[in-house]
């Protein structure tokens, strides 16, 4: 056997973990950049939600008119960075009075990351609810699937959809590999600690498997503890 043939054959016997990561690992960095950026947005939004629930004062920022800075009434501004606001658990918020029955549901409490596992190495599904427009119930979300040892990674672009009266969100999606499909997200207004997700593939990309599919079953995703 020639040396080049020997070399080609030997390449076939390198570690399976190497082969597995080559499946799509090059895109990993970009994906995580996106996810981290999304997480940063979620952190800001969660800060908003936490502040609102805690009865904190809200001061508009002159540089960013749509993003606001929160300062507890009993604490100087310098003492509280944005991370501290982000990490303040929602559960610590004081008891809120029950809203009158005729008020619309506040879906903004769903802003955050929901996963079926806490591990970042995968496999796990994650729904990041990036933004909810309180007045119109328009929702912006992103969905990702991370395989074993963080590979493969499938991520959708931001999806914009409406929350229906029965608290469901129906949407179409396309992931980073070109797979396409439809999805349904169920929001239970009485329990914002979890959401349910059904993802169906309608068009599979040529070179990839469509692992964003939840295989005809709703997946229950819990709010990540880090949020």
């Amino acid at each position: 056997m020639k040396r080049t043939e020997q070399l080609l054959e030997a390449i076939g016997d390198v570690g399976i973990d190497l082969v597995e990561t080559a499946e799509d690992a090059v895109k990993l960095g970009k994906r995580w950049d996106g996810i981290l950026a999304a997480a940063a947005c979620v952190a800001v939004l969660l800060g908003l939600g936490t502040a609102a629930m805690s009865g904190l004062s809200v001061q508009p920022s002159p540089e960013l008119p749509e993003v606001q800075t929160f300062v507890p009434m009993d604490q100087p501004e310098d003492d509280l960075g944005p991370m501290e606001v982000q990490e303040k658990p929602v559960e610590d918020a004081p008891e809120q009075a029950e809203p009158p029955a005729d008020l619309p549901v506040d879906y903004t409490v769903f802003c955050g990351n929901y996963s079926d596992t806490e591990t970042v190495e995968g496999p796990c599904y994650t729904v990041s609810i990036l933004h909810v427009e309180a007045e119109t119930d328009q929702i912006e979300l992103q969905i990702s699937y991370v395989g074993v040892n963080a590979s493969p990674v499938y991520t959708t672009e931001s999806i914009f959809a409406s929350v229906a009266e029965d608290h469901t969100v129906e949407f179409a999606w396309e992931d980073s590999w070109g797979n396409r499909g439809t999805g349904i997200l169920l929001l239970n207004p009485d329990d914002p600690s979890a959401v349910q997700l059904l993802m169906t593939v309608t068009e599979q990309a040529e070179y990839n498997r469509a692992t964003l599919s939840t295989h005809d079953q709703y997946k229950t995703l819990n709010r990540r503890q880090a949020d």
């Binding site: 020639k2 040396r3 080049t4 043939e5 020997q6 070399l7 080609l8 054959e9 030997a10 390449i11 076939g12 016997d13 390198v14 570690g15 399976i16 973990d17 190497l18 082969v19 597995e20 990561t21 080559a22 499946e23 799509d24 690992a25 090059v26 895109k27 990993l28 960095g29 074993v148 070179y207 498997r209």
Partner: protein, 184 residues
């Protein structure tokens, strides 16, 4: 079905293992085989043989990654068929091109070179030292035997960048083998 479920079917000697494997990884195996073989009948035979090999290997094996496990089998089987086809002048495909490219890394000689296991060990170590992107491009080209155009499409890169990246990696591999005092 999840891989663990399919592997459990193999272990239970349940023939649905083969159906589920075909359903989930049939396309994947055919893609690898088609990179090496042009004849569709040869491809189908290699894929079928891959399932037989998997059936015979599991148990006792429990692959860490069923996908890579099947990929490795179908790659080896397809290369064997390709070599036999070479002898009958019906070869071609990406394997021939890959061999031409790999001539950058080693000089061909008639004598026995290295033990296969030693060469694999060196290659494994070399690949682990590479930046992730270079490693992925190299493996897509020489493990999966994907055409350069397909790799460029997969990673949203210009074809020229993929080629130059692979060229640099081959040169690095040659230097690495020289440094390891492998007679080239």
């Amino acid at each position: 079905m999840e891989d663990t479920g399919i592997i459990d079917l193999y272990w239970a000697r349940d023939e649905r293992a083969l159906t589920e494997t075909e359903k989930k990884y049939g396309g994947y195996c055919r893609t690898i085989s088609r990179h090496i073989l042009k004849n569709e009948q040869d491809v189908e035979e290699c894929v079928s043989d891959t399932y037989v090999r998997a059936w015979n290997a599991i148990p006792p094996q429990r692959p860490f990654s069923l996908r890579a496990f099947l990929g490795k089998i179908v790659r080896n089987l397809s290369l064997n068929v390709w070599r036999a086809g070479q002898a009958q002048r019906r070869g071609g495909g990406q394997a021939a091109l890959a061999l031409e490219e790999l001539a950058d890394c080693v000089s061909d000689g008639p004598e026995e070179w290295l033990q296969a296991s030693e060469l694999t060990r060196l290659l494994d170590r070399f690949l682990r030292q590479l930046p992730q992107k270079e490693r992925c491009l190299f493996l897509r080209r020489y493990w999966y035997l994907e055409p350069v155009e397909e790799i460029a499409h997969r990673y949203h890169m210009p074809v020229g960048s993929v080629k130059s990246n692979l060229h640099r990696t081959r040169k690095k591999l040659r230097k690495y083998l020289e440094k390891e005092e492998i007679f080239l």
